[in-house]
């Protein structure tokens, strides 16, 4: 590439990519068989425990929104990620970080020493003592809309199958 013939201004004058390509439009719309069918939409809504669309217009608008979102996702998926492990979360994965996270014998020594040895073969056994926990110091039933005594109440289905 010669630096003499073209100037930076000329190179930057014509855009090679627009963010608009990530939005779906009639020109870059998906092929016929890639379209989301109403059946698929209903299945997805059931899996997410969301209500089904009430009118055909609502259904059409839902499918259109989903379609444009999928267009964006497909553009992202086109990036070559061979040999790259998927990221689950951003954590300290250095050796030192992993070492700090490791659950070693030292961390568990206290608990192990509280055990007793039982029987002829002196098998280790945990002693069941009454433990108090601060995490329980709140009224779990305070936010319940329906309750019966100390229980939460849920309306069951009359003739239902398990999820």
């Amino acid at each position: 590439m010669s630096t003499g013939t073209t100037s930076p201004a000329e190179i930057l004058a014509k855009p090679t990519w627009s963010v608009r390509s990530l939005l779906s439009s009639p020109s870059n719309d998906a092929a016929k068989d890639d379209k989301i069918t109403p059946k698929q939409l209903h299945h997805l809504l059931k899996l997410s425990a969301l209500p089904l669309p009430k009118t055909p217009e609502e259904e059409y608008s839902m499918i259109a929104t989903l379609q444009s979102q999928l267009h964006f996702v497909r553009a992202v998926q086109r990036v070559d990620t061979r040999g790259v492990k998927p990221l689950h979360a951003i954590r300290d994965e250095t050796d030192q970080g992993t070492q700090e996270e490791t659950i070693t014998l030292d961390k568990m020594k206290g608990l192990l020493e509280e055990e007793v040895q039982v029987g002829y073969y002196k098998r280790p056994k945990r002693v069941k003592t009454k433990v108090e926990s601060e995490a329980e110091d709140w009224d779990a039933l305070a936010t319940a809309s329906r309750k019966r005594g100390r229980f939460f109440v849920v309306q069951g289905k009359k003739a239902g199958e398990a999820a």
Partner: protein, 616 residues
Amino acid sequence: MRRTATAELGRYLLQGRLSTRGCLKISQRAVCRQSSLRTSLAGASRSLQTASTSQPAGPPIVPLRKQWRDEAKQAKKHGKGKAKKDSQTVDGWELTVGIEVHAQLNTSKKLFSPAVTSFNDDPNSHVALFDVAMPGSQPLFQNEVLIPALRAALALNCDIQKTSRFDRKHYFWWDQPSGYQITQYYESFAKNGQITLLARDGIAPQDGDSVTIGIQKVQLEQDTAKTLAQSDDTQLLDFNRVGVPLIEIITEPQMHYPRTAAVLVRKIQMLLNTVDACVSGMETGGLRADVNVSVRRQGDPNTPLGTRTEIKNLSTIKAVEDAIIAERDRQIRELEAGGTIAGETRGWAVGSTETRRLRGKEGEVDYRYMPDPDLAPVVIGEDLVQHLRQTLAVSPDMELDKLIAEFGLTAKDAVSLLNLDNGARVQYFYRVLNGLETMLQANAGGEEMPVLKSYAGVVGNWTIHELGRLTTSKAGPFSQVELDFTPGGECAQVPDAELSQLLYQLYTKRITGKVAKELLMGLYLGDLDAGILETIESRDLWFQELSTEEYNVQIDTVLEGEERVLHELVKADVFPQRKLMFLIGKMIRSGPTERIDPATAEQLLRTRIAELRAGA
């Protein structure tokens, strides 16, 4: 034995008349048998020697009672085995079973929150914010969970993975507040283990001496809430159980018989209990099994496995076996009728004969497994694994092997001993044995101790059978009192020290067996004012055995009236053991019973007979 009509039986017993229908050589046989029976009935003698008195010319007659005994023996050998064998196999079909066991870990706190684990506490009293998915709450991994989890994985011979991760399994149900269960779908903390089942564990006879089942993986996961169905279509929810740590043990599909699968579940339960990983059993709902069943035609081992169905939430060992048999039969029926098996989830209710459909095809439920971004990977230190491996509890198999090889118990007795009273009875056995050993050592002084197997056998017999007889004896209202054992093997009703003392006196032949049993009953009922030794002293229960001359006097008395029997004993080529036993019995009954030891009596009687044989 075949049952005979009452009329025919009556005619035979009271009148000596046999039905001759269907007999080939009727005349002579019937006559002979009738005459021999009449003499035996007339005599009403307790001995069975009919053949010797009435032996008419003709075909040799087998004494009837002996014939009945032989027939019963034959029937037992051939007839009985059939029924059980049939339910384990079906001709032409091969069954394949895989099992998933869910067991609650023995911890004080839950898996991702510091709330306390409990059983039957007040509803909704041990619930943290994260347990009910309060918006904004975050999970907090509790390290304590690793101790029982690692012990369970090590007991199953698994490879422990240094790094393991948590995933979300999404589905909506009212017992799962967050809408997903946190489990370890992709990277579990342990995999590639195995468990060996032996014939003494009770596997199907078709599996031979032993079978080794591979464990695919062991993973940590959360438990769900407890629901109580009400009659008005509502459910009451108790969230105490949400978030309690479970391990899921997934086996390879390597089992081919229902009995073996049931035994696997029982053995896993016992193993987890021994290493203190999971101490609440199936009865309390702490351990549940899901079974995957498929069938395929026998023959080519390369044919792919048939479609599998899953039977969920089986809660007893027997249910596991029954459900597998029912499902296998249903699948075979379907396939033979030309249909196909749908890969569905089925349920089993105790007492039913067939599984029922719970849910449709596997594809219909999409769990959308996804790595949980809120939880860091669990990194397990090698030193912790090593420590737990070295201090892992002695396995039940090793304990059984020692009981059989060193202490001389039979396999059946050893297995029952380990299973009684949730492992407390065997600790009691060790205590009694120790006490007896100390006493024998003190008694022996410098001399040689008796053989371990001989006195360990006595302790075993009394700990298993005699103690068991106490609670089932027909002693009236007193038999209601159960025997209470602490986990360390102490018993309130029959203290181990007292039983040691009793068995010491019995083993060294200072008291007879009959007296020992009565003393045990007295001790159990609390009738004895003082200890065993004092009671024997105060009531003078010592065994004063007859001297040899007194024995010989008894033998003379007994042989006086029994010329015929004596003749048999002296003259017969094959030594008739039963006649000897008869004489010993007579001696015990007629002479001073509590002073005769049957073993010594037999010995002296044999010597006398040997003398007579030599002389005659």
